[in-house]
């Protein structure tokens, strides 16, 4: 056979080569193709050339093989403090940034708050960038140049899907077109005449645009009122597909939920109070009796077990503000603990000086409604039941994660922790990472925090993203192409879509940017052709006691768990051997069976649920262990010789239990 013939036979190029595709489609099937190709070569030189040209010019899989290049772009989800600051930093660093916000305007929560601690200034000022040379100077969001050419803001938008892999995500964004186009001058004529149109938040919003409420009856009268042709009812939705090398989750906390917590008349939330103070609207507060209830739905066994970290401070901030303006107003704060940490202690001192009452003990607004507007609070310091008669009850509701965060986490395939916030693979050194490579998180979507901390994290996150987009020496799994048989199993099992495989073109390649180095592919490869940098040398372990136990653990969560246990003084028995691996999924069935020859017991320690860095490594390992247990039973070996346990620094109980059980059995 000549070279071309063998090349033709080797490369099944039906899908790509037009002639052959046509032949195979119309005529019989693939089995005949080789014969046809050779026939063509023999009898027609031109046809042969044609095929060669086609072969050399193959663009397999629609030519999508430049995946390994990282796109210099990022997509920020959420236009709050975290999202805006992160997007601004990234666009200043030269990254093409898309900011997606589900509301018509950015900074929705910030607009409501008005003034903020610890600087006691307007919430809307943002840091200056280096153009002015003065980093510390403040600049209002309106005066700040938002028209950076790298920054694109998509308001009224939602994330619908995510394809691709780290470094080259394709995000599907659904955007509702705004009813007001760029001709709008904010003249306010439609706002005056129609109840359903408002200029958002007392004109504090970016971008400036009127907002239509859900009650709009579509009467289209506003179109006549408008002098500038700025209103069109033909809005509809559009689908935008921005590229993103990295995705940043900055969905923040749920402000809506605090609104829902309101029950009964004269019960407001701190957010409403902030709005009143911002608008100088004091009719309901002036010289009356205001009671603030702290820790609403927080630090509660039944609801949220965490502390929101900001409620004490904004309650103190508001109490001071009211007391300063109207000294005759009675302000009482019912608290569990006052947590004004760091320099913010001055707020507590100032509130004490101004005569704010503090009662250690709190209750719920239900009680107030039930007892005829009288609030009974048990003061834990004096053990007395205190009777309060508030005119206004203010609830300090803290942060809960955005209600759509769960949905978003499903789309992005990232982990969510027990409280519903975004999970980080490493709380200390990777607090703005998520369990998926290439997706970052900052701000309140990670954990409740105040505005300075949010802005700091957003900026740190921007640096992390920038580093990720500009990484140089990437390590990842490697395929030995001499051994590879092009079966495509690795591409099927890869949890990160990191393997580019084109069957028709005999092309396989690992995209190292997206590769997590978890070794799942290597553990499935039938020809052992993939080296996932797993470096355990079994050769050293030839002289092992027969009763010994091997613990195979992943170097992420499980290693942290082992460290934690060693600090706690746990000592493993002598015949326990530890084997670190990149991920629990890297341990194949064959590996386990092989180890069973040397070891009496094998324990695989992986991450807890939804905490796996490589997405489903722990699930894969558990599936394997379940399979092996059945297999061992069938061939007459006790199934409990192989076991799986989760292990992390804060969840060690199952591991301890299993190790203890093993130890007892041996005795």
């Amino acid at each position: 056979m000549c070279e071309i013939e063998s090349a033709l036979c080797k490369n099944r190029v039906e899908g790509n080569s037009g002639i052959i595709a046509a032949c195979s489609k119309k005529y019989l099937s693939e089995s005949d193709c080789d014969i046809r190709k050779i026939a063509m070569l023999m009898d027609s030189e031109s046809a042969g050339k044609n095929v060669v040209a086609l072969l050399s010019g193959i663009k397999p899989g629609a030519g999508n093989f430049n995946k390994n290049k990282i796109k210099n772009s990022a997509l920020v989800i959420g236009g709050g403090f975290a999202g805006v600051h992160c997007a601004m930093e990234l666009s200043n660093l030269g990254v093409e940034t898309t900011l997606v916000e589900k509301e018509p305007v950015l900074y929705e929560l910030a607009c409501k708050i008005g003034f903020v601690f610890p600087s006691d200034d307007c919430s809307l000022c943002v840091g200056n960038d280096s153009d002015d040379g003065n980093w510390a100077s403040r600049k209002c969001i309106y005066r700040k140049n938002f028209n950076n050419e790298n920054l694109k803001i998509l308001n009224n938008s939602e994330i619908m899907g995510l394809d691709g892999s780290a470094g080259n995500f394709k995000v599907t964004v659904k955007r509702k077109k705004s009813r007001f186009n760029e001709n709008c001058t904010m003249c306010g004529k439609c706002v005056e005449k129609c109840e359903n149109i408002t200029i958002n938040q007392g004109q504090l919003s970016y971008p400036l645009t009127p907002v239509v409420s859900e009650n709009c009856e579509q009467c289209k009268k506003c179109m006549d009122w408008c002098e500038f042709d700025a209103i069109n009812f033909d809005c509809g939705e559009e689908i935008i597909k921005p590229d993103a090398g990295a995705v940043i989750v900055a969905t923040g906390g749920d402000a809506e939920k605090t609104q829902r917590a309101k029950q009964g008349e004269n019960v407001i939330t701190q957010l409403d109070l902030a709005e009143m103070l911002r608008d100088n609207n004091f009719d309901n507060i002036k010289n009356k009796n205001v009671v603030m209830l702290q820790c609403m739905d927080l630090r509660n066994e039944k609801k949220n077990k965490y502390c929101s970290g900001v409620c004490c401070l904004y309650a103190l901030k508001h109490a001071i503000e009211i007391k300063k303006r109207f000294p005759d107003t009675e302000v009482t704060i019912c608290y569990i603990d006052i947590r004004s940490t760091g320099f913010n202690e001055r707020y507590y001192d100032e509130a004490r000086e101004l005569g704010v009452n503090f009662v250690k003990g709190t209750t719920t607004p239900d009680e107030w409604n039930n007892f005829n507007k009288i609030l009974y609070v048990e003061d834990q310091l004096s053990d007395e039941l205190i009777k309060l008669k508030p005119d206004m009850l203010v609830l300090s509701t803290g942060f809960s994660p955005d209600e759509k965060l769960n949905e978003l986490a499903e789309i992005l395939d990232i982990g969510v922790n027990e409280h519903g916030f975004v999970e980080s693979p490493h709380e200390k050194i990777g607090s703005n990472l998520t369990t998926r490579k290439g997706i970052f998180a900052c701000g309140v979507s990670r954990e409740p925090k105040d505005i300075p901390a949010t802005i700091n994290q957003a900026k740190a996150c921007a640096v992390d993203v920038f580093k990720f987009l500009n990484q140089q020496n990437v390590t990842g799994a490697e395929i030995d192409l001499d051994k590879c048989v092009m079966c495509g199993k690795c591409a099927d099992v890869c949890p990160r879509n990191a393997i580019n495989f084109c069957e028709d073109a005999d092309f396989i390649e690992i995209n190292k940017i997206a590769c997590d180095n978890c070794g799942t592919c290597a553990s499935f490869c039938p020809e052992f052709a993939i080296n996932a940098n797993q470096n355990v040398d079994f050769e050293q372990l030839k002289n092992i006691d027969e009763n010994s136990t091997a613990i195979l653990y992943c170097i992420e969560c499980a290693e942290a768990g082992l460290e934690r246990l060693s600090y706690q003084g746990m000592k493993l028995p002598k015949n326990y051997y530890l084997f670190p691996g990149n991920c629990a999924a890297a341990i194949s069935i064959v590996d386990i069976l092989r180890m069973l020859k040397n070891f009496n017991k094998i324990l695989i320690a992986g991450c807890p649920d939804k905490h796996c860095r490589s997405g489903r490594g722990n699930e894969t390992a558990q599936e394997r262990v379940a399979f092996i247990k059945e297999l061992l039973k069938e061939i007459g070996i006790a199934g409990d010789r192989v076991d799986y346990t989760y292990l992390s620094s804060y969840r060690t109980e199952q591991f301890m239990e299993k190790v203890m059980k093993n130890g007892e059995n041996e005795k």
């Binding site: 099944r12 037009g18 002639i19 595709a21 046509a22 032949c23 119309k26 005529y27 019989l28 099937s29 693939e30 089995s31 005949d32 014969i35 046809r36 050779i38 026939a39 063509m40 009898d43 027609s44 046809a47 051994k483 048989v485 092009m486 079966c487 495509g488 099927d492 099992v493 069957e503 070794g519 290597a522 553990s523 490869c525 039938p526 020809e527 052992f528 797993q534 355990v536 040398d537 079994f538 691996g581 890297a586 341990i587 194949s588 064959v590 069976l593 092989r594 069973l596 020859k597 894969t620 599936e623 394997r624 379940a626 399979f627 059945e630 297999l631 069938e634 061939i635 007459g636 070996i637």
Partner: protein, 183 residues
């Protein structure tokens, strides 16, 4: 996780060897597996028309094809199968699917089972294999749907002989049709 001592051995073979070494009794049951691990393959005999694309694509020689005289037989050896799913992807008739069951007794017997057999049609001129009866039947049906009747297609000749008889007209026709569909 570990570098294999014997590099020639592939995963199914190693699995077989390890189970043989460890086993203390003969297994009698099949084992349920998960979607990810894949289990046994199932073949739909009625759909299959014997093109042997599965056998040609099988990287582990678990699926094989034999043409003896006028009969084509397709074999499946479960013990060699790496569950890669390549045959499933390549089957033009979608006749292969997976079942989440690991047939352990079948795996250990290492036997090759016959899946299907077909009558072959040979070239009238040179006695080369053209395809199976079912394949040609289907091709003839397709032929009737074409806009322009093509006499070459109904000749029971292999490609080489067709080229000899008709010159390169027959594949130029194909090219023409390809251009038409592209338009």
């Amino acid at each position: 996780m570990e570098k294999m001592k014997n590099e020639k051995m592939n995963r199914p073979e190693l699995l077989y060897k390890l189970i043989q070494d460890l086993k203390k009794k003969e297994p009698g049951k099949e084992i349920p597996t998960s979607d990810l691990l894949i289990g046994r393959l199932i073949f739909d005999k009625d759909l299959c028309y014997g093109c042997a694309a599965c056998a040609k694509n099988c990287p582990e020689e678990a699926l094989t094809v034999e043409d003896v005289e006028n009969i084509r037989t397709i074999f499946y050896n479960f013990s060699k199968c790496a569950f890669c799913g390549k045959c499933i992807r390549n089957c033009p008739k979608d006749a292969i699917s997976k079942e989440n069951v690991f047939d352990l007794p079948g795996f250990l017997t290492r036997k090759t089972g016959e899946i299907n057999n077909f009558n072959l049609i040979m070239c009238e001129c040179c006695n080369e294999v053209i395809g199976t009866e079912e394949q040609l039947k289907e091709a003839a049906e397709d032929m009737l749907k074409l806009p322009e009747f093509c006499e070459y297609e109904l000749e029971k000749l292999c490609d080489k002989c067709k080229t000899k008889k008709f010159g390169n007209k027959w594949f130029l026709f194909n090219e023409k049709e390809k251009n038409d569909t592209e338009k």
